[in-house]
Subunit: 215 residues, 2 copies
């Protein structure tokens, strides 16, 4: 499959590499046509690994991953172009967090979320919020943790969510996938990031996740 | 031990009953001196179960639990009186949530928290935030869940946290207690409530909790 990955930070590179390893053709998108990170990544990953602008990557992908920083996501997706996202599944991994303060703060929260903002701004994209509650290494290799943990999905398009659930299960190896509901559930998973920051300090590693324990 | 429990909702009644069962003398505090819920509870629980105003309960308690609704907590504690909280451990279980909307919203979040507001308003109280990430029945009986799960504590007073950790472990049966840090960590655990609301819908029961899975 042809997949567009927007963002050349750790999350974009990690997701991109995993998808290439799975045999997909991946175009990493960034603001510039030849972002240094993306060029180095493509050289490393071989001929199935491509790079280009946000617009190139979105046009290339049958499915698009948003791995940009939350603070830049709406702008990046605007550069990608609504016409290049139309009808496509847009897997939104971003978190609207300002990392510049010692205690992180959300740039949108409580009564709205970045997931909702993206769905409103691109009504013809099929936005599915997922994977944003953990570190990139855990996203693509959940079995590396000592026990089973949970990944959440949320979105308005039932079919799009079913495809994303299959991707999480069959491509990334997730055994426990919790469909929280529509795109408004982005609020809860995005606001979890502040607890995640605290936990990261305690665990002394970003390689952890949570699991829901029932009675 | 003499313990004050502020609030006569499900959380206050459940915590109060557990403490009475453990052999403590508990005074349930509410806005009125003889709140109907509190009177009925005291009748049910026997001679170690007392009731009174917020002020009565705070004065009575060597330790005080804040189990009031988050929207009313600062007012309830003001009625309790700073002089009755001075030097005491104040275990804050409240969440600053407006439950009136279908999707709950926080009345304080992101750059501040109710835990911090309480500590600022009552600087001589030793505020420890804990137990607010779960349902009351789970708080006092974590072993009822199918597997071990986690409870978080946060607060500025190291000794107060040590006492609360002992209470959670020895009185309530918690086996995994995570000290997140100072009172600013209230932000993360309070904002978790929105994800909790989504999870409650999926689990179809409030009897669940989360567990941190590491590598």
């Amino acid at each position: 499959m042809q997949i567009g990955v927007l963002g050349t930070g750790v999350t974009g590179l990690t997701i991109g590499s995993k998808l290439v390893q799975l045999g997909h053709e991946v175009m990493l998108g960034s603001r510039e046509e030849a972002n240094a990170e993306a060029v180095a990544w493509a050289k490393e990953e071989g001929h199935h690994a491509l790079y280009g602008t946000f617009m190139n990557a979105a046009a290339f992908g049958e499915i698009v991953f948003n791995c940009t920083l939350g603070s830049a996501s709406l702008q990046a997706l605007t550069l990608a172009g609504a016409e290049n996202l139309r009808g496509k599944i847009l897997i939104d991994i971003s978190n609207p967090v300002d990392y510049s303060t010692e205690i992180w703060t959300m740039t949108v929260s409580n009564t709205d979320s970045l997931g909702e903002q993206i769905q409103r701004a691109f009504p013809e994209a099929r936005v599915v919020k997922t994977l944003n509650t953990m570190n990139a290494n855990v996203m693509v290799d959940p079995a590396k943790l000592s026990e089973k943990s949970d990944v959440f999905v949320g979105g308005n398009d039932i079919e799009a969510k079913a495809v994303v659930v299959a991707i999480l299960r069959d491509w990334f190896g997730w055994k426990s996938i919790i469909d929280l509901g529509d795109i408004t559930t982005s609020r809860g998973v995005e606001m979890f990031v502040l607890l995640w920051q605290n936990l990261q300090r305690i665990v002394r590693s970003p390689r952890f996740n949570i699991r829901v324990v029932t009675s």
